[in-house]
Amino acid sequence: MKPDDAQVNWVEEPKLGLTGKMYLPLIFSGLAVTTKHLFGPKMTVSFPEQRPEIGNPLIYRGVHRLNKDEQGRVKCVACFLCATACPAHCIDIIAAPSPWPDRDKYCESFTIDELRCIFCGMCEEACPVDAVELTSLFDLTGRSREEMIFDKEKLLSVYDMTKDAEPMKSRVMGASP
């Protein structure tokens, strides 16, 4: 970098004025700011008693769910796009020939390791049929590692749990059913 480079925009700090050099006025203005905050409104949410407000549940990235279609069947067509997209490699799918005539394959087993997941939402982005989605449940806990590996039944039950509060995004956002 040359000092007279036209790309470099030199911004110089303003020099201290007389009040600044006196120091005490600046000290008191600092004190005024802290005192104002001392009595100001607080941001903290007292968590278990008080739930934080989630701005838009549709774009929040919490625990996953596997969506069902109108007939209650799992929507997933076992294309493996989500597993491929997943940067944490935490999706494990076993595909099987579909028992239904409208698709070739379905997922016989579908597991997401919620402990390895980084909740990036790539799986949701990748899915061509909007089968896997991230809900706004954020306080996920468990007592063992096994418990935190969500299988197909558990992921479908998350859908049943959240489908009323959070409709399927594709429908809300105007995509094909």
Binding site: K2, P3, D4, W10, E12, E13, K15, L16, L18, G20, K21, M22, Y23, L24, I27, G30, L31, V33, T34, T35, H37, L38, F39, G40, P41, K42, M43, T44, S46
Partner: protein, 423 residues
């Protein structure tokens, strides 16, 4: 003899108990204020154990203390074992011993306490004529605790913290001493009770009659207590934990308590030396020792309220201003505070020497006004002349010079218009 020692022991028990509880609860207050200033709620969960009663988190100090007691007392293998243990003990002992000469109230009424034939003075060792020197000496011993801890830890961060604090505490002891000498000149006594007595009988706190000395003393107390913006000995961002980086468990808590005690001591001294101690107009009466129970208790309450307010100020200050850089700290001490202290001292000395003449010419209000005028002029002169505001921002001319020097194969960053500052 026995009665006197029992009396002293009771006072010591009250004082040490009060101070320890105070220090524990000031930790909670500090965390609260930190949280409130940052728009958080702060610790508000711990109440009575095993119940759901939360009490605004007042159980927190107890939990903190228990945590420290049950922590592993880790001693790193590379430390000097004896000094490593001695350092926190010495700093805590010194911090507590100061309270022998610090009054925590005034006196109890004559014949107020059954079975005691003399008036009880609310100070552990009443009537020590070298009170202030004793206090000064002990507060300097704190430096030993810090340096010993830093040295014995045998770790670079601890050593740097210890070195910084030795330089800092010694540098700020001078302006602090000068401010105290101003007070001593005005009272003519080294006893803290006497200092309060003079302020109470005249009704003018020394903060009004010596504004410059007051400001210097407050700044120096911040530095002596190593509170932000002068907390360089333990600057977390730079030195991990400073001189107590290697400490854990009980030895760490001794350091932490000693630090809080330093702050409480500083508040006591600010309140006693400059803010009238237990005196408040209209409530506490003059300096007479002939007090009623109401006055005796009012004096204790007034003193404690003042101390509490100063401590809150200490804690707010922590979040109001950024930390000084070390060179700024030193130049503040030697180039600003020391000259200002001398100005204050000379002004007070002249005032005391020529008091009758000045009083007849100016009146006592005029004298105070003159002191304020001197303070203002000296402060403005210091602000303009002193290098408090060193410029170390990246400037274009500097950058050009650096590049030239580099081209000539010289070391960059030495010369340059703004690099020729005071450092």
């Amino acid at each position: 003899m026995l009665a006197i020692s029992i009396e002293a022991l009771i006072k010591i028990a009250l004082l040490v108990g009060g101070l320890m509880t105070g220090a524990a609860y000031f930790v909670l207050l500090e965390r609260w204020i930190a949280a409130w200033v940052q728009d958080r709620k702060g610790p508000n969960r711990v109440g009575i154990p095993l119940t759901k009663i939360k009490l605004f988190g007042l159980g927190q100090p107890l939990a903190d203390g228990l945590k420290f007691i049950f922590k592993e007392e880790a001693t790193p293998r590379h430390v000097d074992k004896v000094l490593f243990t001695l350092a926190p003990i010495s700093i805590l002992a010194a911090a507590l011993a100061i309270y022998a000469v610090i009054p925590f109230g005034s006196v109890l009424p004559k014949d107020g306490v059954p079975g005691v034939d003399h008036q009880i003075n609310l100070i552990v060792a009443p009537g020590i004529d070298v009170g202030m020197i004793y206090m000064f000496a002990l507060s300097s011993i704190a430096v030993y605790g810090v340096i010993l801890g830093g040295w014995a830890s045998n770790s670079k961060y601890s050593l740097l913290g210890g070195l910084r604090s030795s330089a800092q505490l010694i540098a700020y002891e001078l302006p602090m001493g000068l401010a105290i000498v101003g007070v001593v000149l005005m009272t003519g006594s080294m006893r803290l009770e006497e200092v309060i007595g003079v302020q109470a009988s005249t009704g003018t706190w020394f903060a009004f009659s010596q504004p410059l000395g007051f400001v210097i003393f407050v700044v120096a107390s911040f530095a002596e207590a190593a509170r932000l913006p002068f907390d360089l000995p333990e600057a977390e961002q730079e030195l991990v934990g400073g001189y107590h980086t290697e400490y854990a468990g009980m030895r760490l808590i001794m350091y932490l308590i000693a630090e809080f005690l330093h702050m409480i001591t500083a508040s006591f001294l600010i309140a006693i030396l400059f803010l009238g101690g237990w005196h408040f107009w209209g409530i506490t009466g003059g300096s007479s020792t002939d007090v009623t129970w109401f006055q005796a208790i009012a004096r204790i309450v007034v003193l404690n309220v003042k101390i509490f307010a100063i401590i809150v100020f200490f804690m707010l200050a922590r979040w109001s201003w950024p930390r000084f850089r070390f060179d700024q700290l030193m130049s503040l001490a030697w180039k600003v505070m020391l000259p200002l202290g001398l100005v204050n001292l000379v002004a007070v000395a002249c005032l005391v020497e020529y008091q009758p003449v000045l009083e007849s010419k100016l009146g006592s209000l005029g004298i105070t006004a003159a002191m304020w005028a001197i303070a203002f002029v000296a402060w403005i002169a210091a602000g303009i002349l002193a290098p408090l505001h060193s410029d170390n921002s990246a400037r274009k001319d500097n950058f050009v010079l650096d590049a030239e020097r580099r081209n000539r194969g010289l070391r960059p960053g030495i010369a340059g218009p703004s690099a020729t500052g005071p450092y």
